[in-house]
Amino acid sequence: MATCPVCDADVENPDDPVVGELLTCDDCGCELEVLELKPLKLGEAPEAEEDWGE
């Protein structure tokens, strides 16, 4: 079980995780990214930014 870096909730480990895989925290809804595998470490996934063409 990993921990959400935003709200500290338990986040269930995905099957066969890969670095860069995206997960969602059930409690705070934050999109999380698998940063490291052993041990499993999660970080906030970067948010897509709008490009307004400027």
Binding site: V6, C7, D8, A9, D27, C28, G29, C30, E31, E47
Partner: protein, 341 residues
């Protein structure tokens, strides 16, 4: 279980009917209204067409039942308590008559003496999240005020842990809080589009708020009427007495409410519904609570959204009824609000 409703023509009475008609453990026997006696309840609550053939009767025709819900205006039940007690072993009152624990507080906030102060202690205050154990087997339950419910549930974890230096609460309220009797203030050209300071100070629900939070510091409270029919949003500005982090707040609210069937912690980092909104709980018994810490001060903002007629009245009363009788707490209440509305 045979259930009757004394005072079923108001908006809270209508929602009680809407819930109890689908409650698997309940048979609604009688619904009273003096003004509408003899008419089908669907003449007043048209959303219940094809669901019931019940007619309103006068209170004088009430027969004994197992549970009597009372949805009468404030001041009526305390004047007729003996009459109602003779009809049913269990009373659940939605008015403000038995919310206070002592008669001095009642007189201070309601401006007149209580007519049966010896019975104030008989009633359990009706917020299950605070009084669940007292509700089991209870024979007398008092519904909680709607603004008070939202404010108390928002602040309860913080007061329980002694984290509050001071707090100011602003409630934005829908028009159904005013009941179904019309007035100059509710006349459509006056009420529509209003952002009206209704009670900047001195709101009666403060009495319950102080009592239930066991607050030894003042809770400041203002209410504003806005363009909304159902629902309210309580925005609580809490000045903390120590430095806390977002994770601390998550842990705190999860500790108090993580297992609560009707409380949802709503704090999302993206999307358009990041914090509680009354629209999203309209018609349901859910209470959505969210928070945000001001990174530049010790201010925590806690937002709480409920439907004033549901978690703030009829829904919470049925939740309490379920607990009192040993039914699954969510019976008859397991439906979300509508989206979109």
């Amino acid at each position: 279980m045979k259930v009757s409703i004394a005072g079923g023509s108001g908006y809270a009475g209508g929602d009680l009917l809407r819930i109890l008609l689908f409650h698997p453990e309940v048979e609604i026997v009688q619904v009273t209204s003096e003004r509408h006696a003899g008419k089908l309840v669907t003449t007043v609550h048209p959303n219940l067409r094809k669901l019931t053939k019940l007619k309103f009767c006068p209170a004088s025709e009430l027969e004994p039942c197992d549970v009597l819900f009372t949805g009468l205006p404030h001041g009526h039940v305390m004047g007729r308590l003996a009459e109602f007690e003779a009809l049913a072993p269990v009373l659940i009152d939605l008015s403000a008559d038995f919310r206070m624990n002592n008669s001095d507080d009642y007189e201070k906030w309601y401006g007149k003496p209580h007519s049966c102060p010896q019975h104030l202690q008989d009633f359990v205050y009706g917020i299950p999240e605070l009084h669940r154990e007292q509700m089991r087997g209870a024979k007398r339950i008092s519904g909680a005020g709607c603004n008070a419910t939202a404010t108390i549930l928002a602040l309860h974890p913080l007061f329980s842990e002694g984290l509050v230096e001071s707090t100011v609460v602003e409630v934005k309220a829908g028009s159904s809080q005013g009941g179904n009797a019309s007035s100059d203030a509710s006349h459509h050209p006056e009420r529509s589009g209003a952002v009206r300071s209704y009670k900047p100070t001195g709101h009666r629900h403060l009495a319950e708020i102080h009592q239930e939070l066991d607050a030894d510091i003042p809770v400041h409270f203002s209410a504003t009427s806005i363009e909304m029919v159902r629902g309210l949003l309580a925005t609580c500005h809490v000045f903390l007495n120590r430095q806390l982090t977002d994770k601390d707040m998550w842990k705190l609210y999860r500790k108090y409410y993580g297992d609560e069937p009707f409380i949802r912690i709503v704090k999302e980092r993206s999307g358009i519904h990041r914090y509680p909104e009354p629209k999203l709980v309209a018609g349901s018994n859910y209470c959505d609570i969210g928070f945000e810490l001001d990174p530049h001060s010790n201010r925590l903002v806690v937002m709480c959204a409920i439907d004033n007629l549901m978690k703030g009245a009829a829904g919470q009363a049925v939740q309490a009824f379920n607990i009192a009788h040993g039914f699954e707490e969510t019976t008859g209440l397991q439906f979300p609000g509508l989206h979109p509305v």
